[in-house]
Assembly symmetry: C2
Homo-oligomer: 536 residues x 2
């Protein structure tokens, strides 16, 4: 499967799944799927079979690229199947049920900016929708085509543009092509002692361009929570021309040009490269976990730490269900995972102050002895391993006909307790109503701010076999409704895509919608770029 293997990482011989998360060799086997399914009453007794590309009905492409572009484009069925959707639960279950989204007619793999511009020109002339595609890890319907307003669909895979082009060690920044996957770019930075230090859950399977286009949430729990803050300059290819912002550490010259394209999700242009601000690798680390018997008091502790200027790199609060699932606790406690790091000075003092704050709110936990370069605490380690494994387990549960998905949001602290309660109650009620089963709903805080935080929810429940998409859509509609009534954002760092459009349209200020529509018309006059995303 040349199109789905990581062509950009020749040393990597593992095979990427076309339908599910990550590498095929990491997928849980049938026996593990059955074991997991047994935890959710009402799921299937045998896993759904792994879907095969050969079973898909794949038409001939409706368009043919011109000879000048033919070498960049493939109609290979494996490639087309792998570029059909992202990796949301909704995508996985559609593939498992043999009803994937619209399969693109062609997949293009440009190797330089001019080729991207040429592909956009051709697509504009022939009413071909262009869906920019990085690692394909979207969980919000960000990389598929819906509707039938275009003659054909081209998936624009950027992963052949994966090089670090230039490193400025004086200004501690690098010019990186947008198609570089996380490990690919970090490997190129490592010899220089530098790192982008952006480690989303999808790190292995997502690209710099994808992070930028979706305002991805990164390594830091506080201060610089999104990739946005690490952008020094962007190059964006649009159907109306290519733009390159100046490399600037800061500027007050008009509205930020880069901020208009950060979060534009491929609807306004294709980000092809960026100068990114880098970090030194941390030399000092300290981490610990704190247990709380009372989740509300844990929230208060996290708020106190977030409103201090301690700036922990990690500050994740796991509710009892989340803590149990990840092995961070087994006694019904909530667990706060704290981590500090620095390239400049020891951070043990900061951890000690944070632990004091946590204890003042009823937490129990001790600072481990200072250690270098390794998390010191077993609960921390357990949580990290579980974190990376979770999407694989989700797909295993999907094979058992379960409905398992996450959604995340953010709100100011004054609304957080009622918001979390309402999500549990109302999303739980919607799940029960549509499935007849009680759902498991877990919550963790992934990022914290002085003025609020970002709760991340996991929902798991047996579906109605064969109707899993409808079940999830019912549950998601309830979630969208709760978030809207509590004025909590439809997404903190997963982006809008197509799945979040209803919620996004409700929260976007009307003048900004006018501005976005006007911008879309100006930059993408033929309406070919990722149609349906952000704006119609």
């Amino acid at each position: 499967m040349p199109a789905t293997a990581t062509a950009t990482d020749p040393g990597n011989s593992r095979t990427r799944s076309w339908w599910g998360w990550g590498y095929t060799d990491a997928h849980p086997g049938d026996a593990e799927c059955v074991e997991m399914g047994a935890l959710l009453p009402g799921t299937l007794t045998r896993p759904l079979p792994i879907p095969r590309v050969a079973d898909l009905a794949i038409d001939s492409p409706a368009v043919t690229p011109p000879p000048s572009l033919a070498h960049l484009v493939t109609a290979d069925p494996e490639a087309r199947a792998a570029h059909t959707m992202g990796k949301a639960y909704r995508d996985v279950i559609r593939a498992l049920r043999g009803r994937p989204g619209r399969i693109p007619d062609l997949v293009a793999r440009p190797t330089e900016d001019q080729e991207v511009a040429d592909l956009l020109d051709w697509a504009g002339e022939h009413q071909v929708a262009v869906v920019p595609f990085g690692g394909g890890s979207s969980v919000v319907g960000g990389v598929e085509y819906r509707g039938d307003a275009h003659r054909a669909v081209l998936s624009l895979d950027l992963t052949a543009m994966d090089r670090v082009l230039e490193i400025d060690t004086v200004s501690r920044s690098a010019l990186i092509q947008a198609g570089a996957l996380g490990p690919v770019l970090e490997e190129q930075l490592r010899p220089h002692g530098l790192t982008l230090r952006h480690f989303p859950q999808s790190f292995e399977f997502s690209t710099l361009g994808g992070w930028l286009a979706t305002r991805a949430g990164g390594h830091y729990a506080t201060v610089h929570t999104h990739i946005d803050d690490f952008v020094q300059s962007l190059r964006v290819v649009t159907p109306a021309g290519t733009g390159l912002s100046w490399r600037l550490p800061g500027s007050g010259a008009g509205p930020s040009p880069d901020r208009l394209f950060l979060g534009s999700e491929g609807a306004l242009g294709v980000i092809t490269r960026a100068w990114m601000r880098l970090q030194e690798r941390p030399r000092y680390k300290a981490s610990a976990s704190v247990a709380f018997t009372d989740f509300q008091r844990a929230l208060d502790a996290v708020r106190a730490i977030a409103q201090s200027d301690l700036a922990p790199a990690n500050c994740r609060l796991l509710d009892p269900g989340e803590a149990l699932l990840s092995g961070a606790s087994h006694d019904g406690s909530s667990v706060l995972v704290l981590g500090f790091e620095s390239a400049t000075a020891p951070v043990d003092d900061r951890l000690a102050i944070a632990l004091d704050m946590a204890r003042a709110h009823g937490g129990t936990g001790e600072a481990p002895k200072a250690e270098r370069d390794a998390p010191a605490d077993a609960a921390v380690s357990a949580w990290r391993s579980a974190f990376l494994r979770m999407p694989y387990l989700r797909d295993g549960l999907a094979r058992m006909g379960a409905v398992v998905e996450t959604f995340e949001t953010a709100a100011t602290w004054d609304r957080i307790p009622a918001l979390i309660d309402a999500v549990r109650t109302e999303v739980g009620a919607a799940a029960l109503k549509t499935t007849g089963h009680a759902a498991t709903i877990n919550c963790r805080l992934t990022h914290v701010y002085p003025d609020g935080s970002a709760p991340y929810f996991t929902v798991a429940v047996a579906g109605r076999p064969g109707d899993e998409v409808a079940v999830w859509d019912d549950i998601k509609a309830a979630a969208t409704d709760v978030l809207h009534r509590h004025r909590a954002t439809i997404t903190h760092h997963h982006a809008v895509g197509r799945d979040h459009r209803p919620g996004y349209d409700l929260q976007r200020p009307a003048p900004f919608a006018l501005a976005l529509r006007a911008t879309k018309n100006a930059l993408d006059p033929h309406g070919i770029l990722n149609p349906g995303v952000l704006i119609d």
Copy 2:
């Protein structure tokens, strides 16, 4: 002068100057002007007289507001004169020479959002240009009207909307009307133990709305250098409707709606209120100054500190001229002013590490004994006093026919040394050529980043008497050219206004210019909002 006194601050009986900086009672007297002028060979021997409104040719307004809006609008000559221009050197000398900019026909002082909307509706129907006006401290031609494409000009003074409407102590944030001047909003926050902690040089004479519309540079030398980061939500009244973004601590839902209006300089809408993130007042402070005999080594020291994670609140590097001027040193040294602060924990350790870094690059300085709530170092104090007095002294020198102005920029560290050299050389040459006198050019770094810094330049030279505006325009053209060739931003925190348009147009990426134009047309279809700013 009811229109120019601070109507929003009834306890304040001091009189604001209509033509120069700040309060009239703080202006240097004639004798002090002569004394300062003697330092710049070639200036006048007697100060220009203080200009009088009575001497201005003020026409009758070309339009009459409808009865429903009449109570909000005045045609009082004092008010109109005081709303004619900002407070750049260019503005001050034009007033001194009796050639101010176009005097607005009317000044409006709305008290609520609906009145702003009504005024915009009326202006749109009657081709009246609307220039939003906060404290009037623009130094880039941001609050005047140039050209003759409109029937009349209305200055929209927001300072009657100056209340803190709501405080959320849980989320540590406040809803503040845009017309509140710095002291006015801080006074309302103080009883709650909170502060916005945004202290630009213009603090007393600028408003929250002005800071937001211009992306003002604030208190912090690192991390949160612009007011942008403290914005939780904005209300913006545009001719196409009013928008209110949700209060969110963070979000990844599409491009940031607020970031489009931050820096929009009144050209896309009128910011009428904002939820702002607040700080606790710091309980721990530590500051020190470090002297360097070698400016290049001082730059290296500052870069090392900026690339650490020490995050000083103050990190200003003064070159020898700047240090002399402010009394921070008298021996030709460069001086680094360092300050740390925290509401959480002592900061002496951080100061000590920063001082070690500075000494490793040849700096000499010691940490003073820890003190609370006061800068410990005489050089720090001297610098702060001089900082607030500088604009007054500039006006005194202007009265002596001198050309005295500042400009600021930012660039990545790799370009900083050559940039600063080139500014000295080329701007100095341009000043000599246009005046026949050698100019004094001082430099300080006001804000620092891991990837670069923001140099701030002061130029002083005897002008050609009567031709001071032309002299400054010659010098400024040379500065714009240097900044452009070195890819340094035309402004780090003074905004674009009309004076920076040539530089701004050169640096703005073409697709962003298309987006901005499309947005302008969508939100301001009659083209009445601050015409000529940002986009034509």
